[in-house]
């Protein structure tokens, strides 16, 4: 068999395309669900960490540190295989969402914190002097500026998160990687793996490019 037939077998690719696309759909659903939950949780975490009463701050700091330290794969296995022993059963999908979100929310919180701390103190003071409530000050003045500053690093977190969805295949999620592995076994040919790799690249490469160009633009704007 030639190199082409081995790694780029069109017949195999064609027959496994449907399964790969199913897997891709699941990967994207898993990625987006985790992205939304982790960014929402990250926002709550950072507000608790910066502005909460002391016990909340301590809890938020501990949470952020722990989930940035633990390997995602270990956490995923814990959630899926260990929690059932204490009666907590997640479906593979929600086990993956939980593990991914716990870790990504910790990173998102740190990223948002950098953004909030970069907002000029005068912005807080102007809002306070006008009589804004704390909530309005954050919602209308601070967060819009903070989040704009952290678009590139938060997109980076999003990219890592989508990449990390591949780990979900270890909890029997039929995601893109799992589908490719099954197809490879079924056809005894690695072409589906190549196909899967290409699909990952197709979603992630543009995102990587976008982050770089936003960073460039922000750097130029800052230098002006």
């Amino acid at each position: 068999m030639g190199l082409m037939e081995t790694f780029f077998n069109l017949d195999v690719l064609h027959s496994s395309a449907l399964a790969l696309l199913e897997g891709l759909k699941l990967t994207i659903t898993l990625g987006l669900t985790s992205l939304v939950t982790s960014f929402a949780a990250g926002l709550i975490l950072v507000l608790g960490r910066l502005y909460g009463p002391m016990p909340i701050r301590v809890i938020a700091i501990a949470f952020i540190d722990i989930f940035r330290a633990i390997p995602l794969l270990v956490l995923l296995v814990l959630v899926y295989y260990a929690l059932p022993f204490v009666g907590i059963n997640f479906s593979p999908f929600w086990a993956a969402v939980t593990a991914l979100s716990l870790v990504a929310s910790a990173y998102a919180a740190e990223c948002f914190r950098a953004g909030i701390e970069a907002v000029a103190i005068g912005q807080f003071e102007a809002a306070k002097a006008l009589g804004f409530s704390w909530t309005d000050m954050m919602k209308d003045v601070v967060l819009p500026q903070a989040l704009r500053l952290v678009i590139p690093p938060s997109t980076g977190i999003g990219i890592s998160l989508i990449k990390d969805t591949a780990l979900a295949s270890v909890v029997a999620m039929p995601d893109l990687l799992k589908q490719a592995l099954q197809a490879q076994a079924f056809y005894a040919n690695p072409s589906p793996l190549i196909g899967a790799a290409l699909l990952y690249l197709i979603i992630l490469l543009p995102l990587v490019r976008i982050v770089s160009s936003i960073e460039e633009r922000q750097k130029r704007a800052a230098g002006r």
């Binding site: 000029a120 005068g122 912005q123 003071e125 002097a129 006008l130 009589g131 409530s133 209308d140 819009p144």
Partner: protein, 266 residues
């Protein structure tokens, strides 16, 4: 908002002490401001002028003494935002919201704090921008405006809350010299409406023109509290104030050392 008896001052500061860590920035400040008075706060840099005005809306916490605005004590808690809504502030660095147009900068506080509709707030905001000569620039972002224009938007933003008191902390110190005049003119026009004002400034001729009371501070204390005619006219009472005036005027390119007070005649 007029709960106070006619005899009570509008702003009443009693035995105020303010520390930054170990350093005492304000000593025994007692100050009563009547409604409609216009105070010029002057004094060397580091004398506590900014700290004093920032205590009035609690942008700085103080350690002892009390401040009352319109009979409401200024302290953390429910009433703080009520006080802040009545006390407008204009900052040296403008502090406009960079992600909003000039119009939204002016309109947003009445919507969020007073609860009026966006439509009404924008109508009022446009009228205010007109008043500070910027109606053509309503839809620009702060970054598209000159320093003088930004400061005028900031004044309109403070006015939009229809405050009883306006605090100005060196409103022209961050401006290029050619823009100082346009901002001072706007402040003067606002002063003529009868709103109570406290203005920290190094613009002596402006202070003389606009104020009806001069507060001279040094090392965290109020050293003099006199009418401007007295302070600038026959010379300040204390040696320190004399010295300060002289040094400010020495920095003035037109000031002759022999007749230091003449430039103040404008």
């Amino acid at each position: 908002m007029t709960h106070q008896k006619a005899t009570q001052p509008f702003i009443k500061i009693t035995d105020l002490q303010k520390f930054y860590g170990q350093f005492q920035a304000l000593h025994d400040i007692n100050l009563a401001v009547e409604k409609g008075q216009i105070l010029a706060l002057i004094g060397p840099s580091g004398s506590g002028k900014s700290t004093l005005v920032r205590c009035i809306n609690l942008l700085e916490q103080f350690q002892a003494g009390t401040i009352e605005v319109d009979g409401i004590e200024v302290k953390e808690g429910r009433n703080l935002n009520k006080v802040r809504a009545e006390v407008g502030m204009v900052f040296q660095q403008f502090n406009l919201f960079p992600h909003m147009t000039a119009l939204k900068n002016v309109a947003i506080a009445p919507v969020r704090v007073r609860g009026i509709s966006w439509e009404e707030a924008e109508k009022k905001a446009l009228a205010l921008l007109e008043r500070v000569g910027l109606s053509q620039h309503a839809h620009k972002r702060p970054s598209q405006l000159s320093g003088g224009q930004q400061q005028r938007v900031a004044i309109a933003r403070a006015l939009a809350m229809e405050p009883e008191v306006l605090l100005f902390d060196e409103p022209t110190s961050a401006l290029d010299p050619e823009m100082v005049g346009e901002v001072l003119d706007v402040i003067q026009k606002v002063a003529e409406t009868g709103v109570t004002m406290l203005i920290v400034t190094h613009e002596m001729s402006f202070a003389r023109r606009v104020s009806n009371r001069v507060i001279f501070m040094e090392q965290g204390r109020i050293i003099e509290d006199t009418p401007p005619e007295e302070f600038f006219g026959c010379g300040p009472k204390t040696d320190r104030a004399q010295l300060f005036i002289r040094s400010v005027l020495q920095g003035h390119p037109d000031a002759g050392l022999t007749a230091p007070l003449q430039v103040l005649e404008d």
